[in-house]
Amino acid sequence: MKARAIIAGVGDTAVGKLEGSSCLALHAEAAAAAVADAGLESKDIDGVLCAYSMTMPHLMLASVFSEHFGITPSFSLAVQAGGATAAIMVMQAAALVEAGLCRNVLVVCGDNRLTGLSRDGAVAALAQVGHPQFEQPFGFSVPAAYALVARAYMAETGATPEHLAAIAVTARRHAGRHPKAQMRAPITIDDVLDSRPIATPLRLLDCCLVSDGGAALVVGRSDMARDLPRRAISVLGTGQMNTHEHLVAAPSLSEFGCKASAAQAFGRAGIGPGDIDVAEIYDSFTVTLLVELESIGFFARGEAGPAALEGALDLGGTLPCNTHGGLLSFGHSGAAGGLFHVVEAVRQLRGDAAERQVPNAELAFVHGDGGILSAHCSLVLGRV
């Protein structure tokens, strides 16, 4: 019988401003935690997937990491797809395991974006996703690009600044229940609306954090599940869609690849959005989450904002979403930011999420988006 892929172990580091941290040290710490959580030793790892680093850019990050960690994997690869990277790494790891090419694939990300780069440095580095001739010379930034999406989305759906703010407030409420979250003090709708403008209609509290931190997980074969120290989590469905990189080349300002990516993942899992107990969805900006929630099919067009205002995304709501606090309040340290969503989904499905636990969570949906809603990857995870 064909082996199915499971997530056998997860790990993460502290998140926030970590003085003295480094890209490789964060990788190693998260990796060691994930390997131990899976009940494995580092010599059991035969596949390594790394992402990228802004503080330590390197041509061969996966090789540098493996050398540093002290392993000699028979398969090694670095993935670069911005915010979609983490989900794509899990999709790729599952494919490697199901194809029989690897037994235990380590997926690991980490970066010291905050102490190594500063918020200004991160904003400048990220502006590289803009077209060098036809976007950057006009003062392109990633927040400005999402602001352009937000303006078009709000005009089409009637969404208000309060609807966007509800996403930030909900994220902060979730983060307040996670001891590792970078920003835990509660905020109000007015706090968001009164925060300083970054690129209208987006304000400071509509934007994700910049953090140091790392995360890792081990994808293995379902036949190892009974020997695991922790409950194994199945990768039930994966999907991906890539429609553009530059915003000027996006096929539409209202429909993005998240729709096809999610449909593929749901189709492979044999379920639909209505079956999901908990969702961990890329929230680089408040508007990112609103657009994705609707495109993916969790809410009808224009209804995610009003639903968020009424608590639909909170614990006890119809779709508890970003229960760790997301990129908006838990933390965002590059590719690890997306991996925090996956780690949280696994903890929810294991029943390990303590006071932020969604009762009886059996099916989770995870989504990553890279660029300006350019690259998308979706995962459906479930209890074995």
Binding site: D120, Q133, P137, S141, A147, L148, R151, P197, I198, L253
Partner: protein, 141 residues
């Protein structure tokens, strides 16, 4: 030639030559007549390599805009706040640009725009910028 941005490449040279001459030009396929932007060495629609640079109307409609308060680069700090926009050209392609001679409170999506040329942040070569046409909104949203 010398009034072109330093980042112009062989594939985009025709575009920036147009700007230097005060004219918006886009690539058009000789075989299937498709317009395309950003420029490339082949027609993305039919894969032909026969492309020409043709002047376009420079008219479009405001697809979206934002007033940017936080500059991505230190050298742009003096320019904030500035208006970044997506402009859907009459010929079809979408361009990113800056809006000039207006302010955010006057703007509505769908407004009619026209190209002008200037160099807000560059050492060499004018950029295509946009301003309101007659100050009136076009049909639609």
């Amino acid at each position: 030639m010398n009034d072109m941005p330093e980042f112009a490449t062989p594939e985009t040279q025709g575009f920036w030559e147009g700007c230097a001459a005060g004219e918006l030009r886009l690539q058009r396929c000789n075989d299937c007549s498709a317009w395309q932007f950003p420029p490339r060495a082949f027609c993305q629609t039919c894969r032909s390599n026969a492309l020409s640079w043709e002047p376009v109307t420079g008219r479009g409609r405001l697809a979206s805009f934002t007033e940017v308060h936080r500059a991505p680069l230190p050298e742009m700090r003096e320019a904030v706040p500035y208006l970044l926009a997506l402009v859907e050209l009459e010929e079809g392609p979408m361009m990113m640009s800056n809006l000039v001679d207006t302010d955010a409170s006057r703007l509505r999506l769908g407004m009619a725009l026209e190209a002008v040329f200037g160099r807000p942040g560059l050492k060499r070569g004018p950029l295509p910028l946009f301003r309101l046409r007659d100050g009136t909104a076009s049909e639609g949203t």
